[in-house]
């Protein structure tokens, strides 16, 4: 199934190719943490997960066609 990952904030530079959006084919039932690890992104890099306007976490299991927003940690003055 396909899941779209949209990255936000300064941590984008650690997404392969520095891309804001990645659409990935993943087996059903995987958590976001597993998906990110598989594609070579350190899951802990993102401080918040939002799907369809709702806050989720890295244990969220995406549904087919989900658009998952991953937000960089933000502070640092």
């Amino acid at each position: 199934m396909q899941v779209t990952l949209r990255f936000h904030g300064h941590a984008i530079e650690y997404v392969p190719g520095g891309q804001e959006t990645l659409t990935v084919d993943v087996p059903a039932g995987q958590t976001l943490r597993q998906i990110l690890t598989t594609i070579g992104i350190q899951p802990q890099l993102f401080a918040a997960v939002v799907v369809g306007g709702h806050r989720r976490d890295l244990e969220y299991v995406p549904e087919p066609g989900d658009e998952v927003m991953l937000l960089s940690p933000a502070a640092g003055g």
Partner: protein, 616 residues
């Protein structure tokens, strides 16, 4: 050629004799140092002799917006304030949001320089060309909030006001300046210097415009920048929580300062995070001039004896007054935040020093008699009590008011091991034993242990927290990008928070100024400024060098006892390796002193000659 983005004049006010004068903003200064932080660093380097006492009349305060401050583009409300720091004895500065910087530009000034010292409390009123020093006896002794409110009532709402509280008056070495009822120039004790000069407040009003090189182009680009900000999908997610939103993440990676940096994880963090703030005390969001992504959270505490409105708490206060003092209720942190803002104490240094005192008490290094009462971590009354003692320099507060480094020297008993600072500036909100890049960022930050020069902790998480390779390079890269915002007069948070692209600023710069500088040119200026500050410290701090860049022993001798970073520590060898890498990449010698070649390469021949002279 007239360079756009500048008001064209620098205002100098002498508090000793009450005189003032203006001078043309030098084109050379603009071309080499841009503004804001760049002006602060170069002017202080040139104008302060090494033996100047930070609290003496010869010290100066430079207040400088940047070329982009006050313009129609996102988050352009920043102003820089600097002086020789009473906290460190070296260069000190702090950046402040709100509306003060924009107003200085509209009044016609690229910088205001405060010189001398008044005999009696005074405040400065600047309204375009009208410059006046007035008697401030009425407000001396009053809190920041009351002073600002009353000055607004007296002068008019349109005036932008910055003021110190009792802590500044009593020369607490980490006293802050407050503006707009909650924006601070908090770090390095600039408020202490105001207090030593008997300057209670500055009120500014301006009605002028600022010339731009390409007005239409800058307007078009400004609109595009706002639209780009609003269309960033992270925009809606960031604003509700502001910086407090990062509290969870920092705990989850084990970097939350807890119990005077004893550990990096606070088990009650969900009770003091962004959500707790939003659900329990938030009144409204509050932003600075032209900010599309307001991080300010205006809150209200409604509890018996502790009713207040306060802007905050933002992440640093949550970390330093919350986790670090073990306060586990957002309401308690908000109230302590209110009190410290009103007293005029930087909540970062204040939280750090108070936590240090609590640990000293726990270890028996401060007795009940010396403290004047029992003290305990997690006890709001202890925190409030110490904040007041510090602000008024009473009892134990006399020792604590000089900062954690000086306090440890007085208290002894091995307390310097857990006096958490670098160069005398108290460490801010990131426990970095398991984050080498962040550790190096603190060690090498030019003003002392401050996080905002290089917020490198994401890099540690991304590339491996045990890895050392490449960390120094990343810290240097950030140390050039981040302070560049302070130089231009902008807030960097849209870039950090929602990924607003740096290219926008590079495109805007020539439209504003007419200078054909590329982004790389701007970064080179940032590196130049970094080296000026390092040379300032070499010049002003006897024996300054490598030994001033180490963290306290707690970080390399005590493994983190709990949480996700449990068992981690950074060895002394690793610290040495990080510094060796860093100095080599910077073109500094092994003692951390810029080499003459490096200075010449940066167009700083005069500094190279100066350092050579001093060596000879």
């Amino acid at each position: 050629m007239t360079i756009g983005g500048y008001a064209g004049k620098i205002l100098r006010v002498n508090l000793t004799d009450g005189s003032w004068s203006t001078e043309k903003t030098s084109e050379e200064l603009i071309r080499r140092f841009l503004g804001g932080r760049g002006f602060c660093a170069k002017m202080l380097y040139d104008e302060l002799e090494p033996d100047v006492d930070p609290l003496g009349p010869e010290n100066k305060v430079v207040i400088a917006p940047g070329p982009m401050t006050g313009l129609f583009l996102p988050s352009s409300g920043k102003v820089h304030m600097a002086s020789k720091s009473p906290a460190t004895g070296g260069y000190g500065d702090s950046n402040m949001g709100g509306h003060f910087g924009a107003e200085i530009k509209y009044a016609g000034y690229d910088a205001v320089v405060i010189e001398g010292a008044a005999k009696r409390p005074c405040y400065l009123v600047v309204e375009d060309d009208r410059v006046e020093l007035r008697d401030a006896s009425t407000w001396w002794g009053k809190g920041s909030f009351e002073t600002e409110k009353e000055l607004k009532q007296r002068l008019g709402e349109e005036f932008q006001i910055a003021t110190i509280g009792p802590a500044g008056e009593n020369v607490v070495r980490y006293a802050c300046i407050t503006h707009d009822f909650g924006r601070q120039a908090g770090r390095t004790g600039v408020g202490c210097v105001w207090g030593a000069k008997k300057l209670k407040a500055i009120a500014v009003r301006g009605t002028r415009s600022v010339p731009l090189a390409d007005v239409r182009g800058a307007l078009r680009k400004g609109r595009q920048m706002f639209e780009a900000c609003f269309s960033k999908p992270g925009f809606k997610e960031w604003t509700p929580y502001g910086t407090a939103g990062v509290t969870d993440w920092i705990n989850e990676i084990g970097a939350f300062p807890t119990k005077n940096f004893w550990t990096g994880y606070f088990e009650h963090y969900k009770n003091i995070n962004g959500q707790a703030l939003r659900e329990r005390i938030l009144v409204t969001d509050k932003g600075c001039f032209a900010c599309p992504t307001p991080c300010g959270k205006y809150s209200r505490v409604r509890e018996a004896q502790r009713c207040c409105y306060v802007e905050g708490p933002e992440y640093e206060t949550i970390a330093m007054v919350g986790g670090n003092c073990l306060l586990d209720r957002i309401e308690d942190i908000a109230y302590a935040n209110y009190l410290m803002d009103d007293l005029g104490i930087d909540t970062i240094s204040g939280g750090n020093v108070i936590a240090f005192a609590l640990e000293c008490f726990e270890k028996g290094l401060i007795t009940e008699e010396e403290a004047g009462r029992k003290l305990a971590f997690g006890d709001l009354d202890s925190v409030l009590y110490l904040a007041r003692k510090i602000a008024y320099r009473e009892g134990i507060g006399r020792i604590l008011a000089d900062g954690v480094k000086a306090a440890a020297e007085r208290i002894g008993g091995g307390s310097e091991r857990f006096a958490i600072h670098v160069k005398g500036l108290e460490w801010s909100g990131y426990e970095s034993r398991y984050a080498p890049a962040m550790m190096l960022a603190y060690m090498t930050a030019d003003i002392g242990a401050h996080h905002n020069r290089a917020w490198a902790i994401t890099h540690d998480v991304a590339v491996g927290r045990d890895a050392i390779e490449g960390k120094a390079a990343k810290v240097i890269e950030l140390q050039h990008i981040r302070p560049l915002f302070d130089t231009l007069g902008l807030c960097r948070l849209p870039w950090v928070e929602i990924g607003f692209e740096l290219e926008h600023y590079a495109e805007m710069f020539p439209l504003v100024t007419g200078l054909d500088y590329t982004w790389e040119d701007l970064l080179l200026i940032s590196e130049r400024i970094w080296n000026v500050v390092r040379c300032f410290n070499v010049r002003h701090i006897p024996g300054f060098g490598r030994s001033w860049d180490y963290p306290p022993a707690r970080f390399y001798e005590e493994p983190v006892p709990t949480g996700p970073a449990k068992g981690k520590l950074i060895s002394r060898e690793t610290l040495d390796r990080l510094l060796d890498d860093y100095y080599a990449l910077r073109g500094w010698d092994k003692n951390g002193i810029p080499t003459p070649d490096k200075l010449r390469q940066l167009g700083l021949e005069e500094l190279a000659a100066d350092l050579q002279r001093r060596k000879a």
